[in-house]
Amino acid sequence: MSLFYFIAFLSIFFAVMVITTKNPVHSVLYLVITFFTFTVHYILLNAQFLAVVNFIVYMGAIMVLFLFVLMLLNLNKETEPMKSVLVKAIGTIAGMCLLVTIAGSVKVLEVSNPVVLKNPEIGLVDNLGKVLFKEFLLPFEISSILLLTAMVGAVLLAKKEPKDI
């Protein structure tokens, strides 16, 4: 039980480090650690399929994409323009107001029952596959079209425009 609070503390700590570190490469590496703590959260919830997918897709694919773009643009130096202290303070205060609002509304709701895994088999691959291919078959197929569109769009956007147009 205390493992959850330890991992939650690590998640919050590394998430804060992501947005406060000056060097973008360090920021990406802290984001990888944050995603790893999220994977541990999924394992604690017995959502094994989500844990594996989070590990592969987020920590593997997306983070490699971020690092690749950072290296490609040669931005791994600390010459990034920063906002003024006033804007930073205002942004932080606005974010804290959002947090207080959400926390206050959660306190009104009073859903403080402990998380009990009613059906521990729910996050396993065979169960999720049955749900995915029976109830969510149409959204699953549509998401494949979304991925195809994203691939075509990314290639078209990142391609150099020919000079003769």
Partner: protein, 109 residues
């Protein structure tokens, strides 16, 4: 596996909601206080992940697999979003030689 299942018992759902709210707020603050476009996109990823964790926690709490399927769809959408967004960043860098978000204020009133 039994030990892990025993370990999660007894954590209030409120604490999951609070954790997700805090991570989401950190993402919002990151969007507000940084000028680097790539860091802003990473903050958006943090927000998406906070929602994912909350959906997974609700799914385990109610014993309904739909929440975890939604998380799966959100992950597919996040991958597509990151690919297109980074392509746009590369194009913006090619045109302006910078990734400062304050240079892109042509649409500002």
């Amino acid at each position: 596996m039994e030990a892990i299942i025993q370990d999660i018992q007894g954590i209030p759902l409120n604490h999951y909601i609070l954790l997700s709210s805090i991570i989401f707020t950190i993402g919002v603050i990151g969007v507000l206080i940084r000028r680097n476009v790539i860091i802003i996109m990473m903050s958006i990823e943090l927000m998406l992940n906070a929602v994912n964790l909350l959906l997974a926690a609700f799914s385990a709490y109610h014993g309904d697999a739909s929440g975890q399927v939604f998380v799966f769809f959100i992950m597919a959408l996040a991958a597509a979003e990151v690919a297109v967004g980074l392509a746009i960043i590369v194009m913006v860098y090619r045109n302006t030689k910078s990734i400062d978000i304050n240079l892109l204020n042509k649409l500002k009133w």
